[in-house]
Structures are given as C-alpha cells and as structure tokens.
C-alpha cells in the first residue's frame, strides 16, 4: 500500500487526517504492525527545542528621512551585520552586547522583538550623495519593521554527542557546566522526536518543505551548514516569519563561560507515504546512539569514552568507568513534545498542509575539517631548550645557585632516572630560606603537582594552561616524562614579535 502526498493533503483539508507525534508512532507500530500503521496514520509530527547557536534574522527597517545607508548597526548595543544595503541587516544570535557582554546578545534582541518590546536601533554611515545621513538613533518594535525573517544556517542537528570532563577542574562549555573527574554528563537533543532522526535518508525533508519554526509556519531552505548525514549528524537551514513567532518556542540563553545562544523550537510534519516511512518514524530512543566525548581534551578530535543511547541519557544516569554518572539535558524534552503536539494540532485543523521536497538534500555527505594552510604555532617552536633542572635529593642551596646562574624563576625537579617529579620556583626557595626549618633538600619544598606541556601541543592550549592555573612556566616533557624544554611567559614574547601575527 502507498499513499500520495495529494491524498494526504486532501484528508488534512477535509479534517479526516490521522496525525500522531513521533513519540506516539513507535507505540502504534508495535500495536498495529507496520502495514496497520501505514493504513492508520497519515502524518507524523516531530519536534525539537534546544540551543541552536547558528541562528539569526534579516531585518528591514524602512528608509529614514533624510535617508541613510547603514554601515555599522547596533540593536540594544548588539552589533548587527552592516554589509547589506541600505536599511537591511542580519542580527546573529551569538553576537554579544558591547556593554552587557554575555548577559545580553543577538538572541536576546530577537526574543525582545518577538515579545513585543522596543529595541534601540543605532546606525552610522559615511554619508553619500544619495544617502546623506550619517547617524541615526531610534526605538523600533517588530511591528515597525517591513520584514523580520528568521534565517538559521544550522538548525535541528540530527543528534549531538554527549559531553563529560576528565580533568580536575570545572569546564564551562557550550555543553554547559561540566564537573571535574567525569562528575556529570551533559547532552542535547530530542532523541526520537528529532525531525531528521525520523527521516535519516532525507526522503521527506528537503527544500521547500513546510515546518514549525518558533511558533510560526516556516520552510526548509535546504541542507544546513556542517551537514554531515553520513555520520548521523545531518543539519537543516530553515527560515520563518519572525512576526508570527512566539516566546514559548524561542528563548535567548547564556551558557556561563561560553556566551549567548538561542533556544529554537522546530518541528517538521512527515507524510506517511509508504512502509519505509513507517519504519523510519518508528525509531525509538533506544535506537539512537551518540558518543560521550571528553571535553577535557581541548582538540577537535576529542576522545569518545563510550557510546550511549538517548534512552540511557534520559534515564538520569549513565555508567562510566564503573560509576553511575548523573546526566543533564541542555535541550528541553518537554518543549520538544509541545512543538510536536502543536504541529499535530496545526495539521489536524488544516492550518498546515504538507509538501515533498522541491530539491533533495544529500543524505551521504560527510563534513570536512578546516583546510589550514598555516599550522598554528607549536610549543616546540618557541620553548626554551636550554632548561636547567635540579635533582630531588640536592640541597636547597644548590637549587638557589642554579636559579641565579640560569637567570630563571622555575626549576623542574627530576629523580635519579631523570623523570620529572616536581618543580621549585624562586618563591619556594625564598620561603624555605626565610623560614629555616627541617627542609634541606629540594624534594622537601618542591611542588609535586606539575602542570606540563608537550612539544607538539598548540601554543594557544599552553597559554590557556598558564592562565587557568595562574602560573608562569610549563616544563615541556617527552613521552617518558623527561624534561626537554620549558615554556615561560618570556617565550611567548616571540609570538607578539610579529612572526605569528601576520
């Protein structure tokens, strides 16, 4: 048995279409069988509600008198793109306020406009013969704009890897607060309600397909940026009319230590055309797997600690290295459900009919990393190879002499096998001299918890270590923990010498 999109739309128009959410569908399929579900169900509605940083809106303000071609534009002190003529702009969700920084940003401007609040528009220009005005300040509300068109380059991620943190300090990431020692797991995504997870082969989702976007009817533009469906990480570019949106499905947010983002509610109604659609929409949380990534590793290639299903993540805790680790969701399953239910209502009452893609989205594409023609500087290139170290069993006075002679403030401490076991600074030695006590040997006063770097680590990562631990030198070690150099704040001077800042 097969149904056409025309038949389904006819049933939507006469009010007889059977619509279920993607959460109800697996239950129905288990009950009625695939053939039974195909006969029974016409439309499956999906929904997701979570942080979607790559979002924003095109705004048109209409012309001022005298007219201006805006070159720099601020909305409530959040800068918007000024490279569009003359009274058009694009406000990006993650752009931060010049004055309030991470507590207010583009997402907040968008939410304030949707909520009916007025926003201060400020613009400047060089002035031209046709656009003589140079500055402009005015209060505007959504109703004053000719167009306010949300256009989000990357939304509705098919799934998202979960995050944890193996280091010994708290990490503030776009995945939220990650406690030290894999103290928690943070995840995002609506699992079985996610639109693409219900159509992973992109048979139904493509350009021109109607959607629910932040409470307004919207449309799929096409594949989203970083679209990578081959690995299960498809994305969509979507658009919708901001004037019809609701704060219930659009919320500005701030991830502490990361910045501003926007929570977007997005749903897609899927026509149940054939048995393949039934199978795809019967997907359960148990079937959708992601990796738990260690965000303690500051690299694009973060290690995966294990695979996990959305069912496990939603259970509240996941076993990791023999321990039960509590999970936190960043997206809201409750709101995702509301999106799917609201969309179900739209289709049931005939407010939205369905369409098939006018152009298909590639379901096999794999996202590529950045092509980097210049490698970022490595520790090896700027570290000091003339490192002076001291033995742990040597006298403190020996260490003091070495510090003086080497004109350095840090001495890595090594044991008999030349392995790094500690570090002493001029401060440690001054302290030992000022308070003479039992301590005579270097090992009595050294700090044994040494923060180190390795030769091929990126300098940016090493700088982050110096800042986070409030220290001024990092011993550089090889795989056997032998000290092969030292990186101090002084070496970093090489970076501002102009060599890397081209």
């Amino acid at each position: 048995m097969q149904k056409t999109i025309g038949q389904i739309n006819e049933r939507i128009r006469d009010g007889s279409a059977r619509v279920v959410t993607a959460e109800e569908m697996p239950v129905l399929v288990a009950e009625l069988g695939e053939a039974g579900a195909l006969k029974e169900v016409d439309v499956v509605t999906t929904g997701t509600f979570g942080a979607m940083c790559s979002s924003g809106a095109f705004l048109n303000f209409g012309h001022a008198e005298p007219p201006i071609r805006m070159e720099r534009i601020w909305l409530n002190n959040v800068e918007a793109y000024g490279g569009l003529a003359a009274v058009d702009t694009f406000i990006g969700a993650t752009q931060q306020s010049d004055t309030r920084e991470a507590e207010y940003g583009g997402a907040h401007v968008i939410e304030d406009l949707v909520a009916g609040k007025t926003v201060e528009l400020r613009a400047s220009s060089r002035g031209t013969d046709c656009y003589p005005r140079r500055t402009l300040t005015t209060e505007i509300a959504l109703e004053n704009l000719n167009q306010a068109i949300m256009c989000n380059p990357r939304n509705a991620y098919q799934r998202y890897n979960a995050a944890t943190n193996s280091t010994d300090r708290v990490l503030n990431t776009y995945m939220g607060t990650l406690l030290p020692g894999t103290g928690n797991i943070s995840y995002s995504g609506a699992g079985l309600l996610n639109p693409i997870s219900n159509d992973p082969k992109f048979r139904l989702i493509g350009s021109g397909v109607p959607i629910f976007l932040c409470g307004a009817p919207g449309i799929v533009v096409g594949e989203g940026t970083q679209h990578s469906p081959a690995g299960g990480f498809g994305t969509l570019m979507v658009t919708g009319d901001m004037k019809q949106m609701s704060q219930d499905y659009l919320r500005a947010a701030t991830m502490t230590g990361y910045g501003v983002t926007m929570y977007v509610g997005l749903g897609i109604p899927l026509p149940v055309l054939d048995i393949d659609v039934v199978r795809a929409t019967a997907v359960r949380n148990e079937d959708i797997t992601v990796d738990i990534m260690d965000y303690g590793v500051p690299s694009r290639n973060r290690p995966s600690l294990r695979k996990v299903t959305y069912a496990e993540l939603q259970s509240g805790s996941v076993e990791l290295n023999g321990e039960d680790v509590r999970t936190s969701s960043l997206s809201s399953f409750r709101r995702a459900r509301q999106v799917a239910n609201e969309l179900k209502h739209w289709v049931e009452c005939g407010k939205m009919t369905l369409a098939l893609p006018t152009r298909a989205i590639d379901a096999t594409r794999q996202n590529k990393p950045m092509h980097q023609s210049r490698t970022s500087p490595r520790v090896l290139e700027i570290m000091d190879q003339r490192v002076v170290s001291v033995g742990e069993d040597e006298e403190i006075t020996t260490a003091a002499k070495k510090l003086l002679k080497g004109e350095t403030n840090h001495l890595p401490v090594i044991n008999g096998r030349k392995v790094l076991v500690g570090i002493v600074t001029t401060f440690d030695i001054s302290k030992a001299v000022a308070n003479p006590g039992k301590a005579h040997l270097v090992k009595d006063i050294m700090k044994t918890k040494v923060i180190t770097t390795v030769p091929d680590e990126a300098v940016d990562i090493a700088i982050q270590k110096l800042e986070k631990h409030n220290i001024s030198a990092l011993p550089v070690v090889d795989k056997e923990l032998h000290v092969i150099g030292i990186l101090t704040a002084m070496n970093l001077g090489k970076l501002v010498g102009g060599r890397w800042l081209k």
């Binding site: 943070s186 929570y263 960043l330 409750r334």
Partner: protein
Amino acid sequence: MKLLVTFSRGKGRKPIIAQVVRDTGVLINVERAVIDSSEGEALIEVPDEQCRLVSDTMTSLGAHVRILEHGVNYNETECVDCGACISICPREVFTFDDEWKLRLDEERCILCGKCVDACPHRALSLPL
C-alpha cells in the same frame, strides 16, 4: 530549619558555632561556610523545635541570624525545563516529573549557588 549566620571576626574571634553547640546542646549541621579574616557566613541546619533557641543564643553572641524559609529562587516563566541544573546540583534538588517538567525539592537546597550559573535561562537565583 536552615539559618544563615553572619558574623564579623573583630576582637576576640569567638568560636560562636562551637559555643552555641556547647551551651545549647543542639547538634548543628554546618552545610557550608565561608570565613575569612574579617567576616564569616555559615549556612547551618538545626531541628525545627530548637531553631529559636539556637537563633537567640547566636544573636546574643553578636552574630546576625536569618531564618531561611526557602531554597534557591525559581522563576518558572524563564525556565524551559531543559534540566541543565539537574546533574550539577550536589544535593539533588532538581528532578523531572513524569511530564518532563522540572521539579524542585527546596528542603534539600543549601543555597550553594552552583545551579545559578549553570542555568542557561537565568531562571535560578539566590535569595539575598
């Protein structure tokens, strides 16, 4: 009942909490404390029926005592029920109900403030 005790550590640096425990015999549970050279703040928990006794004794020793009736402030309008607060709370104050709505067990809250920064929607704040 939870009490927020603030005291200055001027002259004498009196061991206020220890003295109250000795004088009243009430076993005080110190939930958290921040004490530096000039002042201190401690969140303590005492049995409801002995709350008045502890509070009066502390006040007589020069401390300022405030009875905390509530845990962390929760703004339901801002909350979107994401659950970012759930796993970072050391006292497991937050859970989801059957409908995936966030539920608070205020009794458990020790006002540590960890959830305040972790909430992406600034829906949680400390009562001050």
